[in-house]
Amino acid sequence: MANSSSLWSDALRRLLKNKAAVGGAFVLLILFILAALAPWIAPYPYAYQNLDLGASPPSAEHLLGTDILGRDLYSRILYGARISLLVGFVATTVALFIGVTWGLIAGYFGGKIDTVMMRIVDVLYGIPFIIFIILLMVVFGRNLWLLFIAIGAVEWLTMARIVRGQVLSLKNQEFILAAQAMGVSNFSMFKRHLLPNILGPIAVYATLTIPQVMLLESFLSFLGLGIQPPMSSWGTLIKDGVESMEEYSWLLIYPGLTFTITLFALNFFGDGLRDALDPKTSDN
């Protein structure tokens, strides 16, 4: 296998050439900073209502206006960023963890273990997960951690398949056979030989999973099953915005815009990453 450090620097070069991806990364960086600093930079607490004020369009006191209960939209979007991004990352991490482990084991050991493990994935693939998540939310109530686990549990399947595929193609490479001959332990094999080489596709897929997860969370919130008010994710903000969009359109437009821009950024960055790491599928 080629010298991995030059592989990475090649990839980085390609990535930096991709303007959309760079733009996306930039936006994401700003977003993370804003979300992290939200408790300090938000002008109002997210639950503070001003009933006498009610809904008002953007003004000097309220940059993006207020909602029906007089809560500052700008602050709520900032706090919402924390929640939405948190869900995105945690759920993706859960999916990553399960998926990578599953795929590694199935791909490396092969044979009966592989068949059984992948059959399970096939069966689970056939289940309409949206339906189950809804049911889970209804049954167990709106619990944040349950939400993470439920969403993560949906997304790990594809990750497992991808990882397994990668492992299969790596398995017969010389350096793996050599390590096996030297008697390297399985755990060491995973950690030091296989994992670094599949990091690329994992990173790509993870970056592309985050927006999926965020979409899923916001969809659940829209149905009333996600984050419980007064805490709000972008999904609940959009839901509230839809309900009053006729009279107070800013309540829909600003959260919607923020959400969309974030997803764009994530997708551009993820696509860029994928193109950078796998020149065959890029245009150049």
Binding site: I131, I134, L135, L223, M245, T260, T281
Partner: protein
């Protein structure tokens, strides 16, 4: 190919059984039962109601009764609508959801394939970037945001299209189909673009061009068949996704389809209805995945997937 077909069918059966069983036990875990109402139901009456629906029998007995009923297509009576069977209710909602799915699919195919093919042909020009960016919108803007936005523009500000309903006001089928279709158009655009790019680079295309065939002939007769293969494989999961994902659209636009029935049944603890729709959706998903895989195989026997 027949072997693969049978293997898939065989695989489908445990899936459906698993789905039915998990759902069966899951719904009964939910707090709140189907008969809880604002006006408190006395213990006596609750007992009577449970009797009437066989809910007092031991769980295992209920489970076997239910499963044996499903095999002959009997999903039981609806809890919420006495006198109506779940099958009947599903049959009322299904044509609506199906119609929505078909219209959306047609829109998705039209916009998607057009954009993807044009983008592939005019690679790295504006005609590539613009359709692909618009396609990105479909991927990045959730349906429950896109729908209301379209409603805001066309229904409320311009007032040329109705904002909800299905068949109640003229033109009310347009916005929901457009919203749902656009989301899938995005994926189809990317897939067709990718597929076309791969095909267009191949030798036989260069040969065809060299032979002097017109560009449109080259594209339509030679390239598209192979180039659109990924789209065909995607169709199955897409339609299945349309069916089950329709409940966001149906909720926003108040369409009396199967998706909305499902969400309402879940909220109302209408056990039999939840089970019936879940199993039905799973069944549809399995069938459509199977059909599209078969179609893909038939079109290109080389793309075998294990």
């Amino acid at each position: 190919m027949l072997g693969i077909f049978f293997r898939r069918v065989l695989l489908a059966i445990p899936v459906l059984i698993a789905v039915a069983s998990i759902t069966f036990f899951l719904v009964r875990l939910a707090p709140g039962g189907p008969f809880d109402a604002d006006k408190a139901v006395s213990e006596q009456v609750l007992k009577n109601l449970n009797e009437a629906y066989n809910l007092n029998a031991p769980l295992s007995e209920q489970y076997f009764d239910y499963m044996s009923g499903i095999v002959v297509g009997d999903f039981g009576p609806s809890f919420r609508f006495p006198g109506r069977s779940v099958t009947e209710l599903i049959m009322t909602g299904l044509p609506v959801t199906f119609e929505l799915a078909i219209y959306s699919m047609l829109i998705a195919l039209l916009i998607g394939i057009l954009s993807g093919v044009v983008a592939a042909l005019k690679r790295n020009t504006f005609l590539d970037y613009i359709p692909m960016s618009i396609a990105m919108i479909g991927i990045c803007v959730p349906t429950f945001l896109l729908g209301p936005l379209l409603v805001l523009i066309f229904g409320i500000n311009l007032e040329i299209l109705p904002v909800s309903g299905w068949g109640q006001l003229p033109g009310d089928k347009i916005l929901p189909s457009l919203t749902l279709g656009f989301a899938y158009a995005a994926y189809i655009a990317r897939l067709s673009r990718g597929g076309m790019l791969e095909i267009l680079n191949q030798d036989f295309i260069r040969t065809a061009r060299a032979k002097g065939l017109s560009e449109s002939m080259v594209v339509t007769k030679h390239a598209m068949q192979g180039g659109l293969l990924p789209v065909v494989s995607f169709l199955g999961p897409a339609i299945a996704g349309l069916l089950s994902g329709s409940f966001v659209i149906e909720t926003i636009f108040q369409i009396p389809g199967l998706g909305r029935f499902y969400v309402e049944a879940a909220f109302n603890r209408d056990y039999t209805m939840i089970l019936g729709t879940t199993i039905f959706f799973s069944f549809m998903i399995v069938i459509f995945n199977l059909l599209s895989d078969l179609a893909a195989l038939w079109l290109n026997p080389r793309s075998r997937d294990t």
